[in-house]
């Protein structure tokens, strides 16, 4: 197997003296969609932030495309190879949606204004937003539209690695399902790697190739189906809740 896109080795992180990750290891391979699950407050978001280089860690190593982002010089090149969708969108509020999507394009440079505009409209259409959204400001959008616009920004330069923080939270089930399929389709066509934090069991079962569960400061990795039989009580409850609910639905029918 080739070198993993994300290679985390024995990571330890603590926030204000509280240990969040202890000896956590994870490999994510090219072209894979990995779901990250965990109880609220277990440190999923901190893990994501640490991978993105927004948080310090105590020991261990994180390599993305084989680059350690504590190495300032090469870390900058990483920024052009990944796209991030933050939980609340994190669109720049003083820029229009179009300008937001053009920010990453401008960063890589050399793309003419007209081409950037055309590409912006293309990305908007791909994520399912009407063309006139381009001129709107983030404050004028609904929650679902912000998510989509933020996804368009994350996809702007067809990055090789995509981080999604709860991409479907706050969307209605139909939109959430479309969102999942969209990511799956794009991923299949463009063969990028996705790491997503999610609580949407549908996403975990339909989109994710593997699922990593953050329990007891470590990751338990498997597929959504194999984890149903995992001995850890939290994991079992998490994955069997769905079974129970689907069973219940079937009985009611």
């Amino acid at each position: 197997m080739d070198t993993p896109v994300i290679d985390i080795n024995k990571l330890c992180t603590s926030i204000q003296g509280k240990k969040l990750h202890e000896g956590l290891s994870l490999n994510v391979y090219r072209g894979e969609i990995l779901g990250l699950v965990g109880a609220s407050g277990s440190g999923k978001s901190i893990l994501l932030r640490t991978i993105l280089g927004l948080n310090r860690y105590d020991s261990g190593s994180i390599r993305i495309f084989g680059i350690d982002h504590r190495d300032q010089k090469s870390a900058l090149s990483l920024r052009h190879r990944w796209g991030v969708l933050f939980q609340s969108g994190a669109l720049f509020s003083s820029l229009s949606v179009g300008d937001n999507i053009r920010v990453p394009m401008r960063e890589i440079g050399h793309i003419s204004e007209t081409l950037m505009r055309d590409l912006t409209l293309l990305k908007l259409k791909i994520v399912g937003l009407p063309e006139d959204t381009e001129a709107k400001f983030p404050a004028e959008l609904s929650g679902g539209m912000i998510k989509r616009a933020a996804l368009a920004r994350a996809l702007a330069i067809d990055a090789e690695l995509l981080f999604l923080d709860e991409p479907t939270s706050g969307l209605d089930p139909i939109s959430a399902r479309r969102f999942d399929l969209l990511i799956k389709d794009l991923q299949r066509n463009l063969n990028f790697t996705v790491m997503m934090v999610t609580h949407d069991l549908d996403s975990l079962f339909t989109v994710c190739d593997r699922v990593a569960v953050l329990v007891d400061q470590k990751l338990v990795i498997g597929t959504a189906t194999s984890l149903q039989k995992h001995p850890h009580p939290w994991i079992r409850e998490y994955f069997q809740g769905r079974r129970a609910s689907t069973l219940k639905r079937e009985v009611e029918k």
Partner: protein, 378 residues
Amino acid sequence: MPTAPTVTVSQLKEDLTLCLAGEWRTFCLPEIKHKLSTLKLPQESKVVIDLSSVDFLDTASAYLLKKFLKKLKRLKISYKIKEGSPTIMATFHMVNEFTPSPEPRTEQTSRFSLIFLLNFLGKMALDPLKTFLEALSFLGEVTIGIIKILIHPRRLRFITLVDLIHKVGASALPIVGLISFLIGVVLVYQGADQLRRFGAEIFTINLLAVSALRELGILLTAIVVAGRSGSAYTAQLGFMKLNQEIDALHVLGIDPIEVLVVPRILALLIVLPLLTFFADIMALIGGGIATYFLIGVGPDDFAKHLLLSIGKWTFWTGIIKAPVFAFFIGLVACFEGLRVSGGAESVGKHTTQSVVEGIFLVIIFDAAFSILFSVLGI
């Protein structure tokens, strides 16, 4: 290492073959654009476009390819596509499906059309009027809020009030003190210089006492407080508004005016007179030290002359203005804070407005007080 995108042209019998190869990535867009646009193809010929050796095609380069095909159509060059790997074709078809329609970009109303001008004029006239009415209504709400608190003092958030007094008052002491001290020194230096020509250096003390106590003490303090605490009020309330905290209060049946605005304004009402008193004293100390070094008047003589130079009302005319200034600084700051909407930019805009309007009002009211005092003869 990714392989660079290439386009090679080869002739096979009558058909031209364009063989595309390599990785077509967003990074190489300019290169791709250049390669595609410099291709020279004879008109009305037949071309086969071979995608089978393309290793990677992303949406941006697929879009360029699509545009290139359109151009071929325009030049009446017929083309056939030799398909590549399924993922590449899927990307290509997806881009094909989502390519923005070439409909005309929405035309903006000309900036100089008559309608635009009239519209603009109307907006410029009506918007300030609307804001003024809103401010007036806010003034009413706040007044009622304060009266309610005065009737039921138990409803006052006492701990919040004390905390606010600490923030806007106690922590402002160093800066207010330093500024006033220095202004006292400056007044004496400038005054002594001018009055020396008439041999009336001792009247520097009159100059110091009257200008510091009546005007400068209160004015500088009010301006510092408007810049320091007014902006803080606006930014804080603005963020709370954006974060829907104000809505949360409404839903809980709690009046935001009562819990947020009234304590803030009360804190300023209490603190500003005290800060002004402190500023007055610091200005006199600064001036006193400067007189000692410049004119050689000792502390005893300074105090004696100071008492002679001020009237019954000199000190109070300064202090009496403080609550009025405090009220309007607080009112404007809270009003602007609650008007924040949209995003971070709005917070910045309203904070600026809050400080500018606060200082503006302070100076307007100061002028009004001057007229009032001169009419009253004090």
